[in-house]
Amino acid sequence: MTAPASRRSTGARAWLDAIRRDRKASVGALILVLFALLAVVGPLLVGDPTALVAVPLEPPSSAHWLGTTGQGQDVLAQTVVGTRVSLLIGFAVGIVVVLVGSLVGVTAGYFGGRVDGMLSLLFNVFLVIPGLPLAIVLAAYLPSGPLTVAAVLVFTGWAWNARVVRGQTLSLRRRDFVLASVVSGESSLRIITREILPNMTSLLVAQVIGSSVYAIGALVGLEFLGLGDVSSVTWGTNLYWASNDSALLTGAWWTYVPTGVCVALVGFGLVMLNSGFDEITNPRLQMERAWRAHLAAAGQPASRSTPVVVRDG
């Protein structure tokens, strides 16, 4: 018996088409592609972000489009260069968080019983312990650096994924094709990797996107507190320096506005992509959309009582 998983056969092309047809997904994808480009080629186009190029706290001008920092560095260069490291760490953490969470979640959901009891207890405890204060204390103890921050974010962020993946595994575990494989004596590892995980692909993609939103936000927060490597140029350290150099008191909005807008745009792009995916893959939303279009074509409002749309007289 084969799993009805092989929707992959439709390939990446079908996905691209689906994204293009959905407005939210296209907006999200477009934003993310632009930022990916910025992260890859951007640093080559701007100067050294740490160079002291002008008078401190100079407002935006033709020489420095986004003005200068409290130390006299170019804000544009800092924002562009910061993109690369921030996105790299953010997405890497997002992926690792889902890997760890899925491992725990699948194990708990598949094996059930005592294993499930212990693992569920573990991630439920992690879910109620507030993540940011824990991350702050951890980051303060460990030697500072990008790896530390990434490790801390994985440690405080995996539990939610474990919970979601466990629930999904439990429901797949009861499906006929999995039961058949269990009865036919296939190994657990094979069933998990061949039958269960492939059927969760869209859920895992959504989880990676959601976790990346979390990771980028938390990363910027920790670095803002000075818990990252403050000598590197990232979005979070840009904000740390802006705040340290009393940008607020001097009204130097240009030192923190560009970075904040970048963080928000990336987060927004990810959220739009995710809700776009949901619209594409959720049959219920698809149906309702078709229903609305059908009513609109007949010039009918979507009434609360079942609408009457006479087409064939």
Binding site: M287, A290, A302, S305, T306, P307, V308, V309
Partner: protein
Amino acid sequence: MAEPILSIRDLSVDYVSADGPVRALDHVSLDLMPGEVVGVAGESGCGKSTMAQAILRILPPPAVISGGQVLFEGRDLLAMDEGALRRMRWERIAMVFQSAMDALNPVLTVGEQIADTLRAHGAAPSGRAARARAAELLGTVGIHADRLESFPHQLSGGMRQRVGIAIALALDPALVILDEPTTALDVIVEREILEEIQELQRKRGFAVMFITHDLTRMLQFANRVAIFYAARLVEVAPAGELRMAARHPYTQGLLRAFPSVHGGDVDLSSIPGSPPSLRSPPRGCRFHPRCAVAVDLCREREPELVALGPAHAAACHLVTG
């Protein structure tokens, strides 16, 4: 002859999907006389429940009513505005849902769910009067008044369905639609409840549309029976006539499938195959792929409903009046 209380004419319902509309009820016409019990039977997906909810216009998206009329006491429900519909619902037409577990609000007590129906239609001047009336209604379905404070999950399946009936009778409706009211129950409770409904119907004289896939029960209860297949009405006849002289091959198959003694599981083996997909129904008569006596004409043209007697009609090329 009296005017029908409910007259469904050429009613069609579509479920709209991304690949276009799917017809779930196709040009169905059916009348109900005041005080009459009409049974509606057919396999699941044949359109019987869709019709029930379309009458009250409570079919949720993605359903649309695509044509026809539903005349109730002479007024077309499909042409009514929300306000008029709201008064018509329950004051004149009530319904017992398939699964009382799902149809009762899990966070309100039984009493509240009966009382709010009364209050919404001005049938009880005060909260106290509504409670008294709710207790009385529970009494008529054999539930003690101290259950007013119970939540649905605290009741047994049979009791929940009795509450559903009590709610349906709250405003003394002229028509009660029973949408497979006993499918979720075991055989003994099922019989008890049906007998209760029958007795209440005799006492109060409301008309009943009784939807089920259990033909045997229906033949005991209904005055007249309508058989649905793949979104269409294929045969309608008085219960006795249908039992003795069903004309449509599908009805005949159904009757063979349900022995008159209650003999355990439903067995549809006398009709091979399964109902067609409504997305692409077969050409001609929709039943022809499963029909033992189909001829070429059945594969070509869709049969019309033909009158075979004063109250008997069937849609089959092989029968003639």
